[in-house]
Amino acid sequence: MNASQSSRHRRVGDSPVIKWLLIGIAVAVALALLIVPLLVIFVEALGAGWGTLADNLTDQYTLHAIGLTLFVAALTVPLNLVFGTALAWLVTRFRFPGRKLLITLIDIPFAVSPVVAGLLYLLLYGRNGWVGSWLADYDMQLMFSWPGIVMVTVFVTCPFVARELIPLMQQQGSEEEEAGVVLGASGWRIFRTITLPNIKWALIYGVVLTNARAVGEFGAVSVVSGNIRGQTNTLPLHVELLYQDYNIVGAFASASLLAGIAVFTLAVKGFVEWRQTRSLNRLQTEETAQ
């Protein structure tokens, strides 16, 4: 575009001053709020050398916290995978009264503060709660132990899979599944050979997000876990404990682990998104090539 054209068709942000000013602000904010803090974590964690980092990470309590966090995630992700898929199937393939309400209800965990969620679970399932006191009669304790942590984590992360699937399944419609059933396929065969391949990438994306949140959840877990070192301490809670103990290097070592998981998650997420757009683009170019 030459100069005379650009002066005639000037739009907001066309002037180089504004353009570079905006880019500058964006870069500065990203650096100050995102990149530098992330770097600081790794710098601090490695400040006393690799040996100290390894020592801190192989600490008995840290190892337990890592184990518990992975255990919680390993239970949460499959639970929400099944729940989210079933829910998305329900609200996109059937028409029933209250369907719209259900779609709205899925978002509750996003709207409610995790601390409030934790508190609700504590009031309901705690030793003095409605359900908790009844369970206590059978010698079952949910709060201040791992089942409670899993419960709140499931609650906090349950919208991710469903939210990814619902728009996609709505857009795809149920005609392919109807075609499958007319051709005599069983329900399981239809799900396995028609539905699942169509929603595969959205499902993986939902799982990645669920996993990231399950590993990093702090608020709700901190209310119901009781922070018992070596028993109910997850990695995010462990970071806080170490920090309060003035074990700065230890806190940063554990934090670097969480940050590492986050970076890895972002990489996987990026890859999945790239795959999704690539397969979409391929379909589109093939369609236009006709």
Binding site: E175, A179, V182, N198, E286, Q290
Partner: protein, 378 residues
């Protein structure tokens, strides 16, 4: 296999989609369900298929009640309007899906399935596209694959939901002819849903006209066109010119227009329905009719010249107040009608509605009644 539908009712909330519909579909015939959108034709097709369940009523195939039978076990072929091909499977895998889904005991061997898919690909003339994905096909190719897929398991019944609705005119015409041949070759009992009158009349052995959840009329295409039972069928099947007015002493009058109706005893308000080909155009009024019209437009495309005219000194029924008359190209070349010319419509055959819900009476104006004047003109 005959299909019998008996007293089907279906509601969607407050909307009555089907209202006590009963129907007999003869074996080996191609039947069209024709109606405007919202008439319940697709719902009826889906109930016959088992994709939708009726609130009450029964569906039977060759006398066997299948109302409670699951779609999966009805062994029908169903073709969807938007093809519904499995997007992540190749053309060959799509066609093989029905055979692969058969219970183990009935399922042919892998080699047999492959052979059958090959035959079907030959039949739809797309063997070179076996390994393509649906997104790589054109609309017409997709619909042919969908057809091949639906008949792979050799069903006795083939149901098609607006099979050509999403295709352009040229492809639609080719596919129509191809479907007709396919039907004649395999002798399915087929039902297809359409809102296109031309398609229904051209393709089918029997047409079921539906409106607002009711069956209006069932008949062969030629009979249906020649003898519509009701105003709805008349209006829906092609263009119609209407003169409504009062009959006094066997003369129907409205404004400056009048038509003599031989042998009518009825007095009072009536409507005269005339098809475009049942009217001629003359340059002067004739003894039995005076219907002055001014030419609005002349369309030469097609096997017939279509002339649109506006009533002069009277009004046609219908919102657009336009009459349409078809004349041959030979007539056109003789008379050279142009926009703005005054012409007189000469009815030859008409259909007279005397009451609200009555069947029409066919009126013939005998050639002998025509004045010699008009014969000189033509």
């Amino acid at each position: 296999m005959t299909i019998t539908v008996d007293g089907i009712n279906k509601r969607f909330g407050k909307f009555q989609a089907l209202n006590n519909v009963s129907l007999d579909i003869p074996e080996g015939k191609l039947t069209a369900l024709l109606g405007p959108s919202g008439s319940g034709k697709t719902t009826l097709l889906r109930i016959i298929a088992g994709l939708e369940s009726a609130d009450s009523g029964r569906v039977s195939f060759s006398g066997k009640d299948v109302t409670k039978l699951h779609v999966r076990d009805r062994n029908i072929g169903f073709v969807f309007q938007h093809y519904a091909l499995f997007r992540h499977m190749t053309v060959a895998q799509n066609i093989a899906f029905g055979l692969d889904s058969l219970p183990r005991k009935q399922r042919p061997s892998k080699a047999e399935i492959q052979k059958r898919v090959g035959e079907l690909l030959e039949m739809i003339q797309l063997p070179h596209l076996a390994n393509r994905f649906p997104a790589q096909l054109s609309g017409g190719q997709k619909q042919r694959v969908a057809l091949a897929r639906s008949i792979a398991t050799r069903p006795k019944i083939l149901l098609l939901d607006e099979p050509f609705g999403a295709l352009d005119a040229k492809v639609r015409k080719d596919l129509r002819r191809w479907l007709r041949n396919l039907h004649d070759e395999f002798h399915f009992t087929s039902i297809f849903v359409t809102h296109d009158q031309e398609e229904a009349l051209e393709l089918s052995d029997q047409v079921v006209v539906m409106s607002q959840g009711n069956v209006e009329q069932v008949n062969e295409p030629t009979e249906l066109y020649a003898r519509p039972d009701s105003r709805f069928v008349f209006d829906f099947l092609g263009q119609v010119n209407v003169l409504s007015g009062e009959v006094k002493h066997s003369r129907l009058t409205q404004g400056s227009a009048w038509v003599t109706i031989p042998g009518i005893e009825h007095q009072g308000n009536v409507q005269l329905y005339l098809r475009p080909h049942e009217v001629r155009l003359a340059t002067a009024p004739v003894a039995h009719a005076n219907l002055p019209l001014r030419i609005e437009a002349v369309s030469l495309i097609g096997s017939e010249v279509r002339v649109e005219l506006r009533p002069e000194g009277w009004e046609s029924e219908g919102s657009d107040n336009i009459w349409e008359v078809g004349i041959s190209h030979a007539e056109f070349n003789q008379q050279r009608p142009t926009r703005g010319d005054l012409r007189y419509a000469v009815p030859e055959v008409g259909h007279l509605f005397t009451g609200k819900d009555t069947q029409p009476v066919t009126v013939n104006w005998d050639e002998a009644d025509l004045s010699p004047r008009i014969r000189l003109i033509n």
